[in-house]
Amino acid sequence: MTACAEHDNWLRLLLFTVGGTLFGIDLEQVDAMIEFSEQEREEVHWFHELAGYGALDVTYLSPTVLVIKTGNGSRFPLVVDRLEDIREYQWRQIAPLPPLLEPYLAERGIWGVTPSRDKPVLLIDCAAYFDSHPDRHTHSMKE
């Protein structure tokens, strides 16, 4: 495949917000979407902890569990807030992170950005994050 043809490729993103910030995850990484139940509170990963919200108080108004499928076949339950949309973006519509921010965000799995409506969508690779931080994540799911 040529570089030009690759630019014509499309990426399907699941868009969701957490604490007012808009994120997009490759839909291929999402194995399932499940309604959040309070009983599972201790058995899931919370997106704000993964993405480095720090001491910011994050309220989840419509929590949903995304089951993230990683490259090595593991599955992790990740709670995000409101699901916004599923959209397709051409690769050419995606920009790398501004160089100044890249060192801070790459380790969180945030790898790119694309404009959408009035605010940018931060693209996050949760599968790569879980694969590269096996020590931090114990709540994997059985097949």
Partner: protein, 172 residues
């Protein structure tokens, strides 16, 4: 008419003119002008070289991004290009304030590009390069790291920031 005397006089005149021209060139070199963008942060005046400031933007929505230090408040969308923003107030350890007149300078220098959030813009001036003096040794903290020189303007001290040092500091 004594042609020898005339020639000597013309030579003297030419020599005098050349001398004036040479001294003018020296003055011109000394008066080499630099464009400076002068702005305010917490009541103090700072400047950047005009050649490093691509444009001055009005205050716009900054999209907050998790995982960044306080002096990087997030992203802005400049006509479809997503850019980072450095909050100079935070970087220089001034108290945080939301100012409606705040501006964003788009700063660019050898591969570095970012918005820089300032309180307000004061002026854009062409000043002789020789008015810029080395920074005072009494400067403290981050300001000492970032200031390339200082000059007086209307009785106020203006600190000239070094874009290279700003880029390095923001990436620490």
């Amino acid at each position: 008419m004594n042609s020898g005397t005339t020639a000597a006089k013309s030579e003297r005149i030419l020599a005098s003119i050349r001398q004036i021209q040479r001294s003018k060139e020296v003055v011109d070199v000394e008066q080499e002008l630099v464009k400076l963008v002068i702005f305010e942060i917490n009541g103090a005046l700072y400047a950047l070289y005009g050649r490093n400031v691509r444009e001055v933007l009005p205050r716009m929505d900054i999209s907050w991004v998790p995982g960044l230090p306080d002096f990087l408040p997030g992203l802005i969308n400049v006509r479809g290009d997503i850019e980072s923003v450095i909050d100079l107030r935070q970087l220089l350890h001034y108290p945080h304030l939301e100012l409606k007149d705040a501006r964003i300078l788009m700063v660019e220098n050898e591969g570095f590009r970012s918005g820089v959030l300032i309180d307000d813009i004061r002026d854009v001036l062409d000043l002789p390069h020789n008015v810029i003096k080395p920074p005072l040794m009494t400067l403290n903290g981050v300001a000492r790291e970032l200031v390339a020189g200082e000059f007086e303007l209307g009785g106020h001290l203006v600190s000239l920031l070094d874009t290279d040092k700003l880029a390095i500091r923001a990436q620490l």
